[in-house]
Amino acid sequence: MFKKILFATSATEASDHAARVAFNMALNYKAHISIFHVMGVPTRGFSQVVLDVKTREEVVLDDEYVAWVEEEVKTYYAKQLETAENFDIKVAIGFPHREILREARQSRPDLIVLGGSTGEPEESVYKRGMVGSTLQRVAKAAPCPVLVVNRPAASFWGGMSNIVFGTDFSKASDAAFEFACKFAKALGCEMHIFHALDISTMHMGRMLTQDEIETRIRESLRRIRGKYISKIKGEIQDYAFDVWEGVPYVEVVKYAREKHADLIVMAHHNRKTSEEDNRLGSNIEQVIVRAGCPVISVNKQVRN
């Protein structure tokens, strides 16, 4: 399932939860893990002077410094690397989202694991002068699924056995579904298919009546049966599905909590990266921020 994992990390506490998941997966699935750290953002000239993301100081780059950072990363993950069998460490210079995507384009990983947010845009060296977060930008354009861990993944110690697939019935969701199925089959997981009926936004300027809500829930259940269940029957043993009404991201998080999910899979098809979207976030971004388990975002048909 996962032969190559690209773990993009700030090598700080912000990435610790992601690190645990990434190294565990590599161990469990005997995958090669590439620890990728964007060490600094170029400030001028031909990238010789970079703003070090950890010290926040301007440093003049040379081989020695790069080697030192590599060593730092290695030290930071010393414990995890004791058990890692197949890994490499790479450091790069540039804007993180771009360099992560560049690396992914070259090494073609099966999964990108992203570290958590390094803080507010105005504080973070990474985000200076760029609109949208690293996550948004990577998730939008990644050639493979992107796994994000934002909160302590408490349940994640012994592998993944319980997946929630959240759908809005879009084309992008089809790709996410395909991935979720593959994942569930390969790892023998339980699969929970879930749709949230969005009642947060006004429908043509008015509130929905309870009858309308229930009618729509029934419609959505029918759609799930037609679109997804028919495809997994006989392939995945344990599955369930449900539709709840509410604010979609809240409902997804609640549902995942109730089902003791250890993974949420959703499509990422928010094409915008503007500041307002960044603040409010699309549903998946809100799910990532709030969920108690790792979230995988899929944006397109995954290459085999």
Partner: protein, 462 residues
């Protein structure tokens, strides 16, 4: 004649030499070696005799030392009106002195001249506008830099920059393959959002041949995607050359005349090969100056023009908006106090001041555009022009120089600065980092992408 292993009179010709020089962190050894670098006075004087023509001889002669240029120089003003920062003094005490002494100057003198040429003048050419005799000191400093480069007295970063052009025909280590690959990658990333988006490489006879700044390829390739998207939406027939795509010239900042020629000739060769109707360069000031204004002379073109009509990105954009090839959604125009950075290299030096303001009239809601004072051809340099941005040795002087622009922006009342020039963009970003005045800065392309209407036939079909 002690020549250093890193600091010497030889230009960088190979990738290996480039890497060796880059490996000298911050130019530590390089500058150490420079302290004992000999001046080849004979070569210096011979070069002057061959290249110092009547225009500059006259300028040096007729300068009346009236001091009218003093107040025009932002570096004079920001450095407490230090008499040593008066433009006329700066050039007379360096180039003037070398000529007077027929090249017989020593190492200390060359160090002083190097600091003057790169840390006390950004070649913004503002003083030239205020000189009653029309003496253009910026041009003379450009010339002086050439003499200094030839003798090996050039800031470390610029020696490397010029070497990059010699080795890669680009200001960074970006190969032709990297360029094409990156452009195609960007188009792949955006083609779902813009059906039919493509990057035509080496298409002959296109209306537009687009050239860029290697920084875009290396660090923010989104800029390439944005250029492609805007050409696509405007329905342009355009192409990029697989070689000769780099429009900039750090060689010009360094004073490496031979590399300047090599660089523009690669772009002109692409024009000759692809025969586009026009060349459009990216949002860069010095690149335009190098390739469009000065380049033809470096390349010895008798008509003083590039092989194809060459325009700046702002000229193309203004035209596209004027003719309705691109339409701005009025609801999405900028509705916050916004100002515009006039890039010396194509505003003062190429008269495009009204073109950029025409663009503002299309993209900014009336009432929100706040011009800096002074503006247009009287505008001050961003503070980092002429290579100043990139030189570590002169960083403190550069940071001080940014104060002029900082205060101009603050006085304008704007919190968004549109800077259609890479160098200005960098300087404004740096001034925000250095002084934290709470502004944002942007090129034109991303702003346009956020507000142009997508023609029906190019919209995503559900």
């Amino acid at each position: 004649m002690p020549e250093g292993t890193l600091c010497n009179k030889k230009p960088i010709e190979t990738e290996e030499a480039l890497k060796t020089l880059l490996g000298d962190t911050g130019g530590k050894t390089y500058y150490e070696e420079m302290k004992s670098l000999d001046v080849d006075s004979e070569l210096l004087w011979k070069t002057i005799q061959n290249t110092l023509k009547s225009r500059m001889k006259t300028w040096l002669e007729i300068c009346a030392h009236c001091g009218m240029c003093a107040d025009s120089c932002f570096l004079y003003l920001i450095n407490d009106r230090d008499p040593k920062q008066v433009p006329a003094y700066k050039i007379q005490s360096t180039l003037g002195e070398i000529v007077k002494r027929q090249g017989k100057v020593d190492n200390d003198f060359m160090h002083m001249a190097m600091e003057t040429a790169w840390a006390k003048c950004t070649c913004c050419n503002r003083c030239g506008m205020y000189c009653p005799h029309g003496i253009d000191i910026g041009i003379m400093f450009g010339y002086l830099r050439g003499l200094l480069y030839q003798q090996g007295f050039v800031p470390w970063e610029l020696k490397i920059g010029a070497g990059m052009h010699r080795v890669y025909r680009a200001q960074m280590d970006v190969t032709d393959e990297d360029f094409v690959e990156t452009f195609e990658w960007m188009v792949e990333e955006y083609e779902e959002d813009y059906p039919g988006l493509e990057v035509p490489v080496d298409m002959e006879g296109a209306d537009i041949m687009y050239t860029v700044n290697a920084r875009e390829v290396k660090h923010y390739p989104e800029d390439l995607a944005e250029a492609a998207i805007l050409f696509h939406l405007a329905g342009e027939s355009w192409t990029v050359p697989s070689s000769g795509w780099e429009q900039t010239s750090l060689a010009m900042f360094a004073g490496d005349w031979a590399a300047c020629k090599m660089q523009v000739e690669s772009v002109y060769a692409a024009m000759e090969r692809l025969k586009p109707k026009r060349m459009v360069g990216t949002e860069c000031g010095h690149a335009h100056r190098a390739t469009v204004i000065e380049g033809p002379y470096w390349a010895g073109r008798s008509n003083g023009k590039p092989p194809a009509e060459s325009i700046h990105y702002v000229e193309w954009l203004a035209e596209a908006l004027r003719e309705g090839k691109l339409r701005v959604d009025p609801a999405k125009r900028i509705k916050r106090p916004v100002t515009l950075q006039d890039s010396c290299n194509y505003i003062r030096n190429h008269g495009l001041k009204e073109i950029t303001r025409e663009i503002m009239s299309y993209i900014v809601e009336p009432g929100y555009f706040m011009d800096m004072a002074p503006n247009r051809e009287h505008n001050y340099c961003c503070g980092g022009g002429g290579g100043f941005n990139g030189i570590g040795l002169f960083r403190p002087q550069r940071n001080k120089a940014l104060i002029t622009k900082r205060d101009q922006i603050l006085n304008s009342g704007a919190d968004l600065v549109i800077a259609p020039c890479h160098n200005c963009w960098d300087a404004i970003r740096d001034l925000e980092e250095e002084y934290k005045i709470g502004i944002e800065w942007s090129f034109l392309k991303p702003l346009l992408i956020s507000m142009v209407e997508i023609p029906e036939h190019l919209q995503i079909k559900e």
